[in-house]
């Protein structure tokens, strides 16, 4: 064997070693990245529920350099399992988030099939050793919005454009109604249902219909800013929902609720990455995060709890509180927010004595509604007017 040959061979060996080294490093890097897949029920473009989750996904992708995320939108419950198959087999997902109530059963059955994968399901109640659950609650912010609405209405008539009459939407309406009642016992809340999560034309007509009835302030559950925009066009006020919608209606948007899924996703993924959560210990992991944890934020715009245009009026209106005495609505809102954000929460809108609109006692004196009661709520608060499907008779 001549020298030249040895040189060439050793050069080749060296080069291949370098390549192998790069490959190994690349592999290690690839391997160290945690891969999280998100399954959305709606289009990200709805500017509503699925958009909210996607904002959360973008947030964790940005703050965790070791994280890689991907998502699929518009996934009906029947397509969840095949999407999970794809995520696990083709994209090596370590963690999979399914974000709609209807995704619950397919998630549980896929979790049995892929025991090494970690699943988190949003808004459901079934868990397994590799399936945790999570949800963010907005009812506290709805209550705070209700305080404002009660103080600001000139006609004593407020409106709510609801998507579907689900317990979640009913909980929001009731919380809003409780706030309204506290600030203005004469005011009523008129509800109209769309029977759709996304229906801008319907939302527009429902708002117009309520305006014709004399309503001058709105809250809503629909995945677009339509109600808010319609309020703006008609010199009424409204509360933004789910995503910051201030820029759609800078006069009409008083406040609202902003959902922050990002903080929940960050907590989950951090704990998965550092081995706190594994595919063996999720049976008891259930997030129900509220104002305190930052999963919900008050405002129509991040960092602006109340539109400055309405602050003076809220400061000038006073209410008589049994404990706090005579207090301006503005101060009451700030006080309630403080109480609900404290380490030890000292206030909740759903505290007895509380009757529903049919006069049935729902909470005894001093009794706090439990997680399950809030989760399954069907009754309507007394100042709520209008149709109420599945209203319990006892």
């Amino acid at each position: 064997m001549n020298h030249k040959c040895v040189k060439v061979v050793s050069l080749l060996v060296a080069v291949s070693l370098i390549f192998a080294g790069f490959a190994a490093v690349g592999f290690a890097e690839e391997h160290n990245k945690l891969k999280a897949g998100f399954i959305y029920v709606g289009p990200v473009g709805d500017y509503g529920y699925s958009k909210g989750h996607d904002v959360g996904r973008e947030y964790v992708e940005e703050i965790f350099p070791w994280l890689e995320t991907f998502y699929v939108e518009n996934v009906a419950p029947s397509d969840v399992e095949s999407t999970i198959d794809q995520f696990v087999n083709n994209r090596d997902a370590d963690v999979i988030f399914t974000t709609s109530f209807g995704h619950m059963n397919p998630t549980i059955s896929a979790a049995k099939k892929y025991q090494n994968t970690i699943f988190f399901h949003c808004s459901g109640y079934k868990r397994a050793k590799n399936v945790g659950t999570y949800f963010s609650g907005l009812y506290q912010t709805y209550y705070l919005s209700g305080l404002m609405a009660g103080a600001l209405t000139k006609t004593d008539k407020l409106g709510y454009v609801g998507a579907f009459p689900t317990p979640e939407v009913k909980r929001h309406i009731n919380a809003f109604a409780i706030g309204i009642h506290e600030a203005n016992p004469d005011a009523t809340l008129h509800v109209r249902w769309l029977n759709a999560w996304v229906d801008p034309s319907g939302a527009k007509e429902a708002t117009q219909a309520l305006l014709e009835e004399g309503v001058d302030g709105f809250a809503f559950t629909e995945d677009t800013p339509t109600v808010l925009q319609t309020a703006q066009e008609n010199d009424a006020f409204s509360f933004s929902h789910y995503n910051p919608m201030y820029r759609f209606a800078e006069d009409a948007a008083v406040s609202g609720q902003i959902s922050n899924w990002g903080v929940i996703y960050a907590d989950i993924l951090y704990k998965v990455y550092y081995g706190v959560y594994t595919n063996e210990n999720l049976e008891g992991v259930d997030y129900w995060w509220l104002l305190k944890e930052g999963a919900a934020e008050l405002g129509a715009k991040r960092g602006m709890p109340i539109n400055p245009k309405y602050v003076d009026e809220l400061k000038s209106k006073t209410v008589e509180d049994p404990i706090l005495g005579k207090i301006s609505v503005y101060d009451l809102i700030m006080k309630r927010m403080e109480q609900m954000k404290a380490d030890r929460v000292t206030f909740d809108p759903f505290v007895g004595p509380m009757k529903d609109r049919q006069g049935i006692q729902r909470l005894k004196d001093g009794e706090w509604a439990t997680h399950d009661e809030l989760w399954q709520i069907q009754w309507a608060y007394p100042n709520v007017k209008g149709p109420w499907p599945d209203e319990p008779k006892e």
Binding site: G45, Y47, P200, K204, P387
Partner: protein, 308 residues
């Protein structure tokens, strides 16, 4: 009280019925020439997204409407090419166009989601006319100019269809293309013309939704209006004036489904437009009634020269 109620409802009826009317007028023309276009929903939503994008970028909402018409026309050309030139099944091609439109609009619209539009087509109140009792309040107070355009278009398009030689040409192509062909009429050209007319009007309807009715872009924002249009076309028995009645009737039902909610089950009210649509479809499907309903004889039939 009652007066206020009726006036309010009728005023809203016009606002909601307008996109239905625009697209229905277009579909009537398309079907009158023998081409069923089930792609209305797709053309509408492409109109909506392109109108919004144009108005957003240029700051000119009327330019947005123009572009919406062009987008609708281009989309309809796809249907025209497949169903007229290639003589494929009109139902399949139209359905594909709807799906294509919904998908494409979602893709193009990604950058415009959640963006407020500063330059919209604002509502107008017409001086003097607004003082006409009742009618003034319904028609001339806080109403979109596009409502007027749609209402004026109706008799114009009706006149063209029934009282001009162009109208006779269109109808003869829809009734008996081979006879029209032997009379020297260019069947393909007429059909393309009508399909594109339908596309332009569907595009306008979409543009109205995204820059006038509800100035914002949301994926899937036409939420089934295009299907109502298909039903309305039959409901109107291919007559523009009856299309106006139908569109505003559907508009009224839509508005009333919210007005009457405290007293009548909303599901029932919301079902009514669709229920009447199904009824209309049943009627049209009964072959013997087809004639008396005034359905174009050659509807859905691709024209092949030399065949009977």
């Amino acid at each position: 009280m009652i007066e206020e109620w009726v006036v309010g409802t009728l005023s809203r009826t016009l606002a909601y019925g307008t996109p239905l009317l625009l697209a229905t007028l277009g579909e009537i023309y398309s079907e009158r020439s023998g081409v069923l276009n089930l792609g209305v929903e797709g053309m509408m939503i492409l109109g909506a997204v392109s109108a919004f994008a144009t108005a957003f970028i240029t700051g000119n909402p009327w330019l947005g409407m123009l572009v919406a018409g062009i987008a609708g026309a281009l989309a309809s050309l796809i249907h025209g090419f497949v169903s007229i030139t290639l003589r494929a099944n009109q139902v399949v091609s139209g359905l594909a166009l709807t799906m294509l439109g919904l998908g494409l609009s979602g893709l193009f619209g990604k950058g415009f989601e959640g963006k407020p539009l500063n330059s919209t087509i604002t509502n107008v109140t017409v001086p003097v006319l607004k003082d006409i009792p009742y009618l003034g309040e319904i028609l001339f107070v806080d109403q979109s100019p596009i409502v007027y355009i749609a209402i004026i278009l109706t008799p114009v398009l009706s006149f063209i269809l029934f009282h001009t030689s162009l109208g006779i040409t269109i109808r003869s192509v829809g009734e008996n293309p081979s006879a029209a062909d032997s009379a020297g009429i260019n069947v393909w050209l007429v059909r393309y013309f009508c399909v594109v007319t339908g596309g332009i009007l569907a595009g306008f309807a979409g543009g109205y939704l995204s820059i006038a009715y509800r100035p914002a872009w949301t994926q899937g924002m036409t939420s089934g209006m295009g299907w109502l249009v298909i039903a309305l076309t039959i409901f109107a028995s291919w007559n523009p004036s009856r299309g106006l009645v139908g569109a505003f009737l559907f508009g009224a039902l839509m508005h009333l489904s919210f007005r009457l909610q405290p007293w009548v089950a909303p599901e029932l009210l919301k079902m009514m437009p669709y229920g009447s649509a199904i009824l209309a479809l049943v009627i049209i499907s009964l072959g013997s009634l087809k004639k008396s309903m005034g359905a174009p004889n050659a509807l859905q039939q691709p024209y092949i020269r030399g065949e009977k």
